[in-house]
Symmetry: C2
Subunit: 355 residues, 2 copies
DNA sequence: ACTGGTATTTGAATCGGTTCAAGAGCGGTC
DNA sequence: GACCGCTCTTGAACCGATTCAAATACCAGT
């Protein structure tokens, strides 16, 4: 579709209408400044030439503002539609952008260079960085020189603008909920703590480089501590966030423990859901035999059977704060923390009698 | 964050390095053309000035290619993350774009004007139009003058480039499947056929302006006709695609029919899933009492309990074809039709004895 | 006829790069 | 010493608009 007819530009229209280019520009952007007669003459010329209106490309250069924000992740682009958390958050980001008439571009950091569409080259006014563990993204974004906000940043660098959540508080609330229901034998299902199924030590959870994993662990312990339950009494299962290793880990836990746990505190809804699945297959009733609390509040948690009690992120607020940061030049000075809320559904209930 | 220091541009770097702007440009884009010594001099100057590399804005104007495609819908932006079908398709589109190093921008058609980010102003190389009934989108895209492809276009205009699916064939396969299982009393759950719960006449289904609804209906009838079942023997339930009116419609059907259907042919997975839900609540077993076939093949269909037999769209192929159309200038001449495939899961089984 | 004021238009600068024909510098040949 | 073939560099045009100070047109008032 190589155009032989070279593109018609504003200049051509102006020429044909017998006006200056400046006037032609005004016809399209500030019609009230142009006399009616001239206006229609220009429109007629545009019509005759098949001019579609000022090209955004040209405008951009002059105006500077693209009126769009980019969301970047280290994962491939389809992550934004495949991952439950990302999808849930992006939905709010999209809604906020829509309400403000701004565009939304998805950016993956994989291939960069002057060739591919990356943080270096995306035509946007700023970035929302979905960082998980790699501050790499932040570094690249800084290089680009556009405003950016990190979401769920995994490092505690104070000078990086970030909108984050109170993992500690949310986790503590989750633990308190179980404690209030009478649970005393509780296990944690972790994420990002290792490769194989099995258990992790509290030290590992305390020292992982993933800040939110650390904080969630600390929160769980803090809540349990209020009932006199110490970290050493709480097994930590190693799982992948995609839920792949939860089965074996749970099997080991339920077979070898002298006292089987009556409740599970998961560090993400995905692992919680995987646990739910495993429990169902084992014929264990939820919450009859085992209660389960998730983390994140993804839509799947609500749809699960039984629906999952979980600590929900304030998606809308995160989106609003982050988008405003970019669009209103209101970059947070450092890390801003938003509260989470415990949503109680049907996967938690009173502790049954200990065996 | 108004910058007082005015932006550093390539020209500044060139000046400071004592080379021409053209050479400076080459340093960043075609380093092999520049002598090592000069190259490092320019880099040093860039470093000193805090120059982040050529701005995409400038490049764009000259180069023409944005290297990104826009996906547009008439719905608000969050539709792309909230709607199961859109999300599923976008996931593939994203994957294809990622593989080609292209960007992905989401566009809603709501607010346009020179102000908001719409089809008129999005900085992309072309559009994928998710049309549902309104050729409005097509019209706007034509005006913009960029290449575009319509997805699931609801009009049969032959000159609009479109990547579409064989609704008729898919629906026929679904009907054949039920027939082969011995079902003879079958109802159709329609979409886009009206406002209230209740039934629609075959005439209505034949004349609706939604092409794919028409085609799916025709396909169902064609498959059933092979077993001697005529359209007049098949009630058509009116439902909203969001599943909201399925319950009442089904209730009416199951209470008033002299012969209760043993199987349901749904025009979308969403209504099928809603039907599944209703049946569960009524204590009717699927597929024991009633078999259900969906349409679209969204991820939720697989996750449902029981998993839903459905006619699956070739998402990957659609995405590949459509993205290639834009990025490779391979716009289809007219409507291209891709085949669907029946995925048999656990929501369909042999017909039980008629009551 | 001249003046002041308002409504339109114009022209030129700018935005930030890319591109490419033409020129400069240089080592080697005949 | 003139000429050739190379490798780098330069300079200027161009991409498609927006913007704004200055120029012009038009009109009422005196």
């Amino acid at each position: 579709m190589t155009r032989l007819t070279k593109t018609i530009k504003l200049r051509d229209v102006a020429e044909r209408a017998g006006v200056s280019q400046g006037t032609a520009s005004n016809v399209f952007n500030r019609p009230e400044l142009v006399r009616e007669e001239v206006r229609s003459r220009v429109h007629a010329a545009a019509q005759a030439l098949g001019y579609a209106g000022p090209s955004p490309k040209g405008r951009l250069l002059r105006a500077g503002k693209v009126n769009a924000i980019g969301v970047a992740a280290a994962e491939p682009l389809d992550y934004f539609f495949a991952d439950p958390w990302a999808r849930r958050l992006l939905r709010e980001v999209a809604a906020v952008c829509d309400a403000r008439g701004a565009g939304l571009a998805l950016v993956s950091v994989g291939r960069g260079g002057p060739l591919g569409w990356g943080i270096e080259s995306a035509l946007v006014d700023g970035f929302l960085l979905r960082c998980a563990g790699r501050e790499l993204l932040v570094e690249i974004a800084q290089r680009r020189g556009l405003p950016f906000v990190a979401l769920s940043l995994d490092t505690a660098e104070p000078d990086v603008p970030a909108v984050d959540i109170d993992d500690f508080g949310g986790a503590r609330d989750a633990a308190r909920h179980l404690v209030a229901l009478g649970h005393r034998h509780i296990a944690i299902i972790g994420i990002g703590l290792g490769d194989g199924p099995g258990r992790a030590s509290p030290e590992l959870a305390r020292s992982t480089r993933f800040v939110n994993v650390r904080e969630r662990a600390r929160g769980f312990w803090a809540g349990l501590a209020e009932a006199g339950i110490g970290p050493e009494d709480v097994p930590i299962l190693v799982g992948q966030d995609d839920g792949s290793m939860i089965g074996p880990a749970l099997a080991e836990l339920f077979q070898t423990s002298e006292v089987r746990p009556t409740a599970l505190l998961a560090m993400s809804d995905r692992v919680a859901l995987a646990a739910l699945d495993w429990l169902n297959h084992q014929g264990l009733r939820v919450p009859g035999d085992v209660s389960v609390v998730g983390f994140d509040g993804v839509p799947e948690a609500e749809a699960a059977v039984p629906s999952l009690t979980t600590v929900e992120q304030p998606y809308r607020q995160i989106a609003e704060r982050a988008v405003a940061a970019i669009l209103d030049d209101a970059i947070p000075a450092g890390r801003e923390v938003l509260p989470l809320s415990l949503v109680i559904r049907n996967s938690t209930g009173p502790a049954h009698k200990a065996d």
